[in-house]
């Protein structure tokens, strides 16, 4: 198991839990919850934040938040 922060661009994973405490409600409301599939799209030019795709849309969040999200790798999409 890894955290979302450790996924490379183009890698996909499914949320399995939260590293510590309760997930921020803002993230939950944006649809990030246990069982949600996430693909890391890219890093921002200066390395933070990251861009992810979930539920058919794009979201950006900081690595500090990504670190809290525990992920099981699903593989990666290559073009």
């Amino acid at each position: 198991m890894v955290t979302l922060k450790e996924l490379n661009p183009r890698e996909r994973g499914v949320v399995v839990g939260w590293a510590e405490g309760a997930p921020p409600t803002r993230l939950l409301e944006m649809g990030v919850m246990t069982g949600t599939e996430i693909e890391v799209v890219k890093l921002a030019p200066f390395g933070d934040p990251i861009e992810i795709e979930l539920r058919g849309y794009r979201l950006s969040l900081r690595k500090r938040e990504a670190e809290q999200i525990e992920i099981e790798r699903l593989g990666s999409t290559h073009e």
């Binding site: 944006m30 649809g31 921002a44 390395g47 933070d48 861009e51 058919g56 849309y57 950006s60 938040e65």
Partner: protein, 746 residues
């Protein structure tokens, strides 16, 4: 079923034929503005909700019989759980808890077909409010492009309410939506999603208690209030609505659930998505496997590791270049028009205090407000384009890492950089910052960015006191000075942001979670409309304060009026006589020039004896440590309204006609000015440096203070801004002057 009864009662006490009220809700970036503008055909008005800075936009649409229906635009949010100001306002609008308003008769919830799951989250909250609801399914074309087909009929069946498909950008479906809005009201639906069983039990329990405490609420309202109270930690906002006993029970239930290992906070969100996710899958069909979309291709360039930041700066540079160059002719025209209006008024009114008040107070005051308009309009045109194309979110995405260092987020970049043109549109642009704490800090430091109004002051002082030579043969000292002044502002803005965030502005640590919407073609009409809206807002709200202040400053500069100086008047009389008797046109012209100079001296003398002149003298002890004499003090007082006034005020004091910033005579006079007590020159390069540093920091701009008051809805923050910037200006000028003297500079 008390709700319909309430509505009927309300109708009876109001006009017999009550106007229908429709609320337009939806996520950000779903084209709500376009739908609103299309429906109302731009017949709308903009204001603020009472007591908050969230904008209230409402307009009218005619139903089939031509009877107007009022549409109110609900702030775009992802949720109705009130954590942010926008969300709180959105929720209160929808339940009719806004002061002086009633619940909407119908809610139109805009849903993005290409982003169905997350949009249905808000829609499910809207449906739970128990009001008649229509779903407007927008951007079905974008969904087509992504290879997804959404079955609107099936969605309508699943949700239990009418669904109208739209392509708002093309205007498709708008007529159908208009018909739905004016037709018979759909029946509200019951909740179709399930809570975690343990939480559900407790919520029902709490709802029963509310039935006892507040029998006026409908069953649906009771359930959603109980749910909200239990699941939202920040729900204290609702505390006023319920009895203390209810809250004791809420806390007990929260603790009990926590012991059982059930997170009540997650229960609501998870329950909704557990219903939405399979529902969205049932109503949408993937018709083709999409490759990278056009948006992806654009994004690959615009957020590229190397090209992204470069393009960001290029785009910003182009925007601000345009703001400067495009605004300049309009600003000149406004300036000329102000002068012409003043001249015309001056010529057509009899001499006296009324004329002077109208010409120098009112007309000049109006001019000082309107002069900002070109920059504001042009900047907001570009900001609107950047926002509507989706680039603004990318700019924040690119710059967030750097802004995080000082405790701000990427969202602060654009307001801060706008401050280089003018702090006012920058402060207004801070509205896009979701986190209230970040927004406030951004507003507080934006005026430290060097705006264009400081340039005339810098230009005058640099031309007068900075040598024209070059360092290393190519770096001009004058240019370097200007650069240093800009950098000084930036460095202190960053430092002030860090300090304010740490010690002054309270609030929640923000979770930076930002949607990156697909790039879209902006609709020019929406952009232009928003630009005009901003301009009107500025004129109406800030304009009144600036105008009043300009009139007050005029009074200070004019009164008390003293007996004219005998020496000046004698010379004036002599010259007038000479001019009348002179026969040679050349001689007459020469005398006229001298007369003009004496008249300026007369004005300078009057100013020095006025309340403002006295204030300059009064200020002298406070500004002597900065190296300034009373004349500079007068310039500082006069430029409280606007920085560039300092140049004109110095011109008046030094009695030079047409004291524009390149006027050599003003510069010569300043250089030649000598302190009568010590015999030393009033102005030295060190004094000039101290004054320039003062202007880097001082909040010499009433328009800024007025806009901060408006945007924060509090005089406290407006006065705090003025106070901290003035203190910083004094301190920095003190360090500059006294430090310079210690180093042996003069």
């Amino acid at each position: 079923m008390s709700e319909p009864a309430q509505v009927l009662e309300g109708a009876a006490t109001q006009t017999p034929q009550r106007q229908r009220l429709v609320a337009l809700a939806g996520n950000p970036n779903v084209g709500k503005t376009t739908v609103f503008n299309r429906l109302t055909r731009l017949h709308h008005k903009v204001g603020n909700y009472p007591g908050v800075t969230v904008e209230r936009k409402s307009g009218f649409v005619a139903d089939c019989d031509g009877v107007p229906i009022e549409i109110v635009d609900v702030p775009g949010t992802y949720s109705l759980n009130p954590r942010s100001l926008d969300e709180e306002v959105a929720y209160r609008v929808l339940i009719g808890a806004i002061e002086g308003s009633r619940p909407p008769d119908l809610v139109v919830c805009l849903v993005d077909a290409s982003n169905l799951e997350r949009n249905l989250y808000l829609a499910s909250q809207v449906l739970d409010l128990g009001r008649p609801t229509v779903i407007a399914l927008n951007m079905v074309d974008a969904a087509d492009g992504a290879g997804i087909e959404v079955d609107a009929n099936m969605l309508s069946e699943e949700l239990g309410v009418p669904v109208v498909p739209l392509v708002a950008s093309r205007g498709d479906g708008i007529e159908a939506l208009r018909a739905a809005i004016s037709g018979p009201l759909p029946i509200p639906v019951r909740r179709r999603w399930q809570l975690d069983a343990a939480v559900e039990r407790e919520v029902n329990d709490l709802a029963r208690r509310l039935e006892h405490d507040l029998p006026a609420l409908s069953a649906q309202q009771r359930f959603s209030d109980a749910l909200r109270a239990l699941t939202q930690r920040g729900a204290d906002f609702f505390e006023v609505h319920h009895t203390p006993g209810f809250w004791t029970q809420v806390r007990a239930v929260r603790a009990q659930l926590e012991n059982e290992g059930v997170s009540s906070e997650q229960a609501e969100v998870v329950g909704r998505y557990d219903w939405i996710t399979p529902l969205a899958a049932r109503v949408s069909r993937r018709v083709s496997q999409p490759g990278p979309t056009a948006s992806d291709k654009i994004d690959r360039l615009l957020t590229h590791r190397v090209a992204g930041p470069i393009l960001f700066f290029v785009i910003l540079a182009l925007v601000f270049q345009s703001v400067f160059t495009w605004a300049a002719p309009f600003m000149d025209a406004i300036d000329n028009a102000t002068v012409a209006a003043g001249d015309w008024l001056g010529a057509s009114l009899p001499e006296g205090p009324v004329r002077d008040l109208l010409v120098d107070g009112v007309v000049a005051g109006v001019g000082s407000v309107v002069i900002f308009l070109p920059q504001i309009l042009i900047l907001f045109f570009f900001l609107g384009l950047l926002e509507d194309t989706g680039y603004m979110a990318r700019a924040a995405f690119i710059m967030d890492r750097i802004m995080k260092r000082v405790g701000l987020s990427g969202r602060s970049v654009v307001p801060l950089v706008s401050g280089f043109a003018c702090a006012i549109p920058g402060i207004m642009a801070a509205r896009t910052i979701e986190n209230q704490r970040d927004r406030l800090v951004t507003i507080m430091v934006t005026p430290l960015m060097t705006c264009s109004a400081r340039l005339p002051v810098y230009a005058l002082l640099i031309a007068a006191f900075i040598p024209a030579g070059h360092a290393f043969g190519f770096l001009s000292y004058q240019g370097l000075t200007l650069l240093a002044l800009y950098l000084l502002g930036v460095v202190f803005a960053v430092a002030a942001a860090w300090l304010l965030k740490r010690f002054v502005v309270q609030g929640n640590q923000s979770v930076f979670v930002m949607e990156l919407p697909p790039y879209r073609m902006p609709r020019l009409r929406d952009v232009v409309w928003r630009m005009l809206e901003r301009g009107r807002l500025f004129l109406r709200r800030a304009g009144t304060i600036i105008f009043a202040a300009a009139v007050v400053l005029w009074f200070l500069a004019t009164y008390p009026q003293v007996e004219p100086s005998v020496a000046i008047e004698t010379r004036h009389a002599e010259l007038s006589e000479l001019q009348a008797s002179a026969s040679d046109a050349r001689v007459r012209e020469e005398i006229a020039a001298q007369l003009a100079q004496i008249e300026d001296e007369r004005a300078g003398y009057a100013l020095s004896q006025s309340a403002m002149g006295k204030m300059g003298r009064f200020l002298e002890p406070a500004i002597t440590p900065l190296g300034y004499d009373w004349k500079i003090g007068v310039a500082l007082v006069a430029s409280l309204a606007a920085r560039e006034v300092a140049v004109g005020a110095l011109g008046t004091i030094y009695s030079v006609q047409d004291a524009d910033e390149t006027s050599m005579s003003l510069i010569d006079r300043m250089r030649a000015d000598v302190d009568p007590d010590t015999g030393r020159p009033t102005w030295t390069p060190l004094v000039a440096a101290s004054l320039m540093v003062f202007f880097v920091f001082a909040c010499q701009c009433l328009a800024t203070v007025a806009v901060v008051k408006r945007e924060t809805d509090s005089w406290r923050w407006a006065l705090f801004l003025f106070g901290y910037m003035s203190a910083l200006a004094w301190g920095a000028a003190f360090v500059t002057y006294q430090g310079g003297r210690l180093l042996g500079l003069t």
